[in-house]
Amino acid sequence: MPITIVKEFCKGCGFCIANCPQKVYELSEEMNKKGYRLPRAVREEDCTECGICDLYCPDFAIILEKTKNKKMRKEKI
């Protein structure tokens, strides 16, 4: 799966949730040690691996790894 969230780096800014074109992320109830509410990729199957979440996260808390699964992306186009 392409998305990893580095929990302890997240500061709960919400950029991933607000900017994902596929609305993959939602705010979860889980908190990290600093008390920030973490995002969760609830619709990871809709991810087109555009990379905006990785790029926009100011804290390097999202790692998007391009998978070799092109079928996932092709279906969305």
Binding site: M1, I5, C13, L55, Y56, F60
Partner: protein
């Protein structure tokens, strides 16, 4: 399988390769645009194949500097407030073979550091300077900056700012910098490309980034602490150079023009000239 990383030690590849693990997460406020610029910087460094041995991060004082200082795995040289360009001059002249990326802020570069900034541009010092323009003094708690918009309420302009903001890109161009550009924090790829171009250009590369400060600019000037709102405000107030040409001067008031303004790699600077100069005057 849960999309949340189970292994806490899995790090973003750029962090693993270029940043000090013990200094992460960096100390920027939630939603601050500085992290995005750092991301762009690391993309540029990675693309160019720069290493900790040949590249130095130089800072001043302010959020721009405190957040980036000692995060880079190579050398980090943090100067006194406003003296970043003077320090960079000493560093680069001593080690012209190395790359220097400067992280400076509106006060550090445009207020206390104004004079050194102007002369570094005039000398076309071969470094790449990134100005973090958040329109306020963030680190010290929200005072007015030379880049604050007219009318902005800040802690030292509680009744509204009566001064016009400084266009530091125009100053850099007038003083002689070889490459000047302005972007927004959300233009991560453009920033990365500009940084790459700046590093590859001999002479001073000055890249201004308009970035959101939700904590101070957001709360004091825009009355919101939502970083998305600040980003939206920035977007509403920026125009491309193309669009700017279509607007009349009154329409341009309060707008920031973004894009690449100038690229004159043919203009030599003090570093290259001094090398030539030594060839002529050095004895034996």
């Amino acid at each position: 399988m849960s999309a949340l990383g189970e292994n806490k030690e899995k790090l973003h590849p750029l962090v693993a390769k270029y940043l000090r693990r013990e200094r992460m997460p960096h100390m920027a406020c939630p939603g601050c645009g500085i992290g995005q610029v750092v991301h762009a910087t690391l993309l540029a460094i990675d693309d160019l194949g720069l290493t900790p041995k040949d590249t130095v991060w130089v800072q001043g004082v302010g959020c721009s500097s405190r957040i980036t200082y000692s995060t880079w795995i190579g050398d980090n040289i943090d100067a006194h407030h406003g003296r970043i360009f003077a320090v960079a001059t000493g560093l680069k002249m001593a080690r012209p073979d190395m790359n220097f990326i400067l992280f400076t802020g509106d006060g550090d570069c445009g207020a206390i550091g104004g004079n050194h900034f102007i002369h570094a541009c005039r000398r076309n010092l071969d470094v790449t300077a990134i100005l973090f323009n958040n329109g306020i003094y963030g680190m010290t708690g929200g005072q007015v900056a030379p880049t604050s918009p007219l009318g902005a309420t800040t802690t030292t302009t509680p009744y509204g700012n009566i001064e016009d903001p400084f266009d530091m890109c125009q100053m850099a161009i007038a003083a002689g910098a070889s490459y000047v550009a302005r972007w927004r924090s959300t233009d991560v790829k453009s920033i990365a490309n500009s940084i790459k171009k700046g590093i590859q250009t001999k002479g001073l590369a000055f890249i201004e980034v308009l970035l959101q400060c939700p904590t101070n600019f957001g709360r004091y000037v825009l009355k919101t602490s939502n970083p998305q709102e600040v980003i939206k405000w920035i977007k509403e107030h920026t125009v491309t150079q193309q669009k700017a040409k279509e607007l009349s001067p009154p329409e341009l008031v309060g707008k920031y023009v973004i894009g690449e303004f100038i690229h004159r790699p043919e203009r030599t600077g003090i570093v290259a000239r001094y090398q030539e100069f030594l060839k002529k005057y050095m004895k034996e």
